[in-house]
């Protein structure tokens, strides 16, 4: 097969001095699905942004269909037929699907006005042509993530993309949605599209890609045939050592109840119950997993427990203390830790230093404060300890958090939350978008803490993660408990899927002791 595009000797230095790509060679054949792999911060997104004209390299050349091209802006790239679906959605939330679709290539009527009807029609046409169904008149902020992903792909297709770059498209998708996406990608490949696919999930890579390129520390570790390379080899090339994702775990020895909810409900502004009559308990030294398709109330449940939202009905007890009317601070004082779902929104102050981010939960603790001023030295030494213990890759505690890669930012959050000697950890998607090395690290830590007697409530969209880490398991559907398994190791994946999709619901008596009254 011919090479449709090639990048030669690409070097990129960000203004802050970070060398994101160094002398990278990269090429793609027409009609293949080509994976790019690498740890967080390896330079994958940067390389793709260069290919899409969003960043300019310091050195290097790009060839498209054999011709040397200079991509000054996304506009140029689009005109050549390169389309990109970004790691973070590039959508305008308040606009409709159709408006987002045609942004930049707006159809006009009477030569000045925007032709909305035409935009809707264009959207419908392209969505039918590629068999990706979407409602053109829906407002984007109302869409589920899966739909947003589809919209992003359609946007690229509408602009006539022949080469589609997908930067971690599956990170936020449910297994079902991922499956559907893969079908669509294969379909597109069969129609002659070339696809560049970034993912951290080895299984997915193995499943759909033809070849793969591995980046490590901004350098290319070569191009490989997917079939010809083992998972072990891939992770060795990526991280420089073998990675075991299977966490060794002894059976749990649960103790007293740490958290208990009784008839917990939360109604949104429209009065709809988003969390409905949930009663459950988690014990000391136990990891309880919560499985479920995203948007079934898991997020609200976590916010209710951690005090960011107040329940409409019902009670929550942590260590026997009713916490329904307590502030976030007071709940944290009961030794509750929280790994938030979206680290950039809640987990860190991106423009703050690593040190500042590591102390946000204990900055006012008497231990670190005099009468008026803080004990700066002890705060700094605490931060430095955490950076070392959690292997945060950085220059030191004064470095800004937004200069770290995603995985290292997550480590900052985890270090802060795990180090406060918690009795309860509420971990919401703790390894989302994190490379294998860091994932392994965080999972190990969770089990360690459990062994030390912490109760863990683990919410994850990654079924493997839930099944592997949980001692007991709960499935949420429509804000309610659809199933509860006292022993998570006995659960069958297919059966779990049935509960998650609401095809099946357990009766109260099946759930046994941990839930209900």
């Amino acid at each position: 097969m011919e090479e449709i595009l090639a990048m030669k000797g690409i070097t990129k230095v960000y203004p802050n001095g970070i060398v994101a790509n160094k002398d990278v060679d990269f090429s793609v054949r027409k009609g293949e699905i080509h994976a790019i792999m690498g740890e967080n911060g390896a330079g994958k997104s940067t390389l793709m942004k260069i290919l899409f004209g969003m960043e300019q390299p310091e050195e290097g050349e790009i060839y498209y269909k054999g011709e040397k091209v200079i991509l000054h802006s996304p506009n140029t790239a689009i005109n050549y037929g390169i389309g990109m679906v970004h790691q973070h959605f590039m959508l305008v939330p308040s606009l409709t699907v159709a408006e987002n679709m045609v942004l930049g290539v707006e159809p006009k009527k009477s030569s000045v006005l925007f032709d909305f009807e035409k935009a809707v029609q264009m959207t419908e046409e392209v969505s039918q042509k590629y068999n990706l169904a979407i409602d053109p008149k829906a407002i984007v902020e109302d869409l589920a993530v899966g739909k947003k992903q589809k919209l992003e792909i359609l946007k690229a297709l509408l602009r006539g993309a022949e080469v589609l770059i997908l930067d971690e498209p599956t990170a936020v998708l449910t297994p079902q949605e991922t499956k559907e996406l893969f079908e669509e990608l294969i379909n597109l490949k069969n129609q002659g599209f070339t696809i560049i696919f970034i993912s951290h999930k080895l299984k997915e890579i193995k499943q759909i890609t033809d070849r793969l390129t591995i980046l490590r520390n901004g350098r290319s570790m070569g191009i490989h045939e997917t079939k010809a390379i083992s998972e072990q080899e891939i992770s060795r090339l990526m991280v420089g050592r073998d990675v075991v994702l299977k966490v060794d775990k002894q059976p749990a020895t649960p103790g007293d109840v740490v958290i208990e909810t009784k008839g917990l409900s939360y109604h949104d502004a429209t009065g709809k119950p988003v969390v409905n009559q949930m009663s459950f308990r988690v014990r000391k030294g136990e990891i309880m997993g919560i499985a479920g398709v995203e948007g079934n109330g898991q997020g609200e449940l976590v916010e209710l427990i951690t005090g960011l939202k107040k329940p409409s009905v019902g009670d929550i007890f942590i260590g026997g203390v009713p916490v329904k009317d307590l502030t976030v601070k007071e709940i944290r004082n009961l030794k509750t830790s929280h790994i938030p779902e979206d680290r950039m929104v809640y987990g860190v102050a991106a423009e703050g230093t690593i040190g500042e981010n590591l102390i946000s939960d204990r900055f006012d603790h008497p231990k670190y404060n005099g009468k008026l001023l803080q004990k700066v030295k002890s705060l700094i030494s605490r931060s430095e300890e955490l950076i070392k213990d959690y292997k945060v890759k950085c220059d030191g505690h004064t470095q800004q958090v937004n200069m770290l890669s995603g995985g290292n930012i997550q480590k900052v959050v985890v270090a802060r939350e795990f180090s406060s000697d918690p009795k309860l950890i509420v971990a919401d998607q703790p390894t989302r978008g994190i490379d294998v090395g860091s994932t392994e690290f965080i999972r190990r830590k969770l089990v360690e803490l459990r062994d030390e007697g912490t109760a863990v409530l683990l919410v994850s969209a990654d079924l493997n993660e839930v099944l592997e880490l949980s001692d007991s398991l709960m499935v949420m559907y429509g804000g309610e408990i659809a199933a509860y398994f006292e022993d998570a190791s006995q659960v069958d994946e297919m059966e779990l899927g049935m509960y998650m999709l609401g095809l099946k619901t357990m009766e109260q008596h099946e759930m046994g002791g941990a839930t209900g009254e």
Partner: protein, 311 residues
């Protein structure tokens, strides 16, 4: 003298409200466009002032009121361009750049006036022109409506028509779609090949143009001369009106009218021997009350949205 009630429900009062509202409306529409594109233009005050001088000077020089208007608008656009250049190309903090423009305008106009007319206070020695008033044929004869709505300066009508034009621009044209996209998520706009910088340039230039209209109205419609510091805070009031207008052209119309009414009301209250300091406070107090009412509504709406977001 009649009661306050009589004054407020007189045609003169209604007429005054529209006149007082005009410059504020122009400036707040300009502010609206810039804010929609994600670039706050708080140099409306200085831009209006400079445009007011330009209008007078050019109309005196060309002997044409229309020439003066065009000059004022062009000068407004140039100041928008200047702000855009510093903020977008040189990355000067846009608030700071705008404050600097206000500073330059307050001194520069005095200097400019001196160079042009030899005066430093008022341009009365220049035979500058005023923009015409317009009698609206049939409306003019209708009893109450005629005196309120007819016979205004042409720019008053332009201002009110502009509300609809800005609405069409923002919500019915490709450029408007781009402006809103750039303002809401510049990365998204960038990723589909829209030039964020170009769009923001256009928005700032347009906001300068509106300030230019506002300035021209002040010196060629409201009064018939330029005098130093004659904008007297209207550019800042317009920012408040914009902020209160819920980011909508018609919202901005309503809040500008609220200001205009409060101002006219303050004038009417002078007749009642209330301590003058309190009379002067009326427009600002009304604004804060408006802000509270609006915030209360938005607050509950936002809570609703936030809760829905999580759903």
């Amino acid at each position: 003298m009649g009661s306050l009630f009589d004054i407020i429900f007189s045609a003169n009062f209604g007429y005054a409200v529209l006149r007082v509202t005009t410059p504020i409306l122009f400036a707040s529409l300009g502010a609206l466009i810039s804010i929609k594109a994600g670039v706050v233009n708080i140099s409306m005050e200085g831009t209006m002032l400079t445009a007011a001088l330009a209008g007078v000077a050019i109309s005196a020089y060309t002997g044409s009121a229309f020439g003066g208007l065009v000059g004022a608008v062009v000068v407004g656009m140039l100041l928008g361009l200047l702000l855009a250049y510093f903020a977008l190309n040189l990355k000067t903090d846009i608030i700071l750049a705008a404050i600097a423009i206000n500073l330059m305008a307050s001194g520069g106009t005095v200097f400019g006036l001196f160079v042009i007319s030899g005066d430093r206070g008022i341009s009365s020695s220049l035979a500058s022109k005023v923009l015409p008033r317009i009698q609206i044929p049939i409306l003019h004869q209708i009893p109450v409506l005629g005196p309120v709505f007819s016979n205004h300066n042409v720019l008053t009508y332009v201002a009110f028509i502009s509300v609809a034009l800005v609405y069409i621009l923002l919500y019915k044209t490709p450029l408007g779609l781009r402006i809103r996209a750039v303002g809401e998520n510049a990365h998204a706009a960038d990723s589909v090949g829209i030039s964020v910088k170009k769009t923001q340039y256009i928005a700032l230039i347009m906001s300068g143009a509106f300030a230019g209209f506002g300035g021209a109205f002040m010196s060629m419609g409201y009064v018939s001369w330029f005098s130093t510091n004659m904008i007297a805070g209207r550019g800042f009031i317009a920012l408040a009106a914009e902020a209160l207008g819920m980011g909508r052209p018609f919202g901005v119309l309503l809040t500008s009218l609220l200001f205009g009414s409060a101002d006219a009301l303050a004038n009417a209250l002078q007749a009642f021997r209330i301590p003058s300091e309190f009379v002067q406070m009326v427009p600002y107090v009304v604004t804060i009350i408006g802000l509270v009412v609006y915030a209360q509504r938005k607050h509950s709406a936002a809570q609703k949205v936030r809760q829905e977001d999580r759903a």
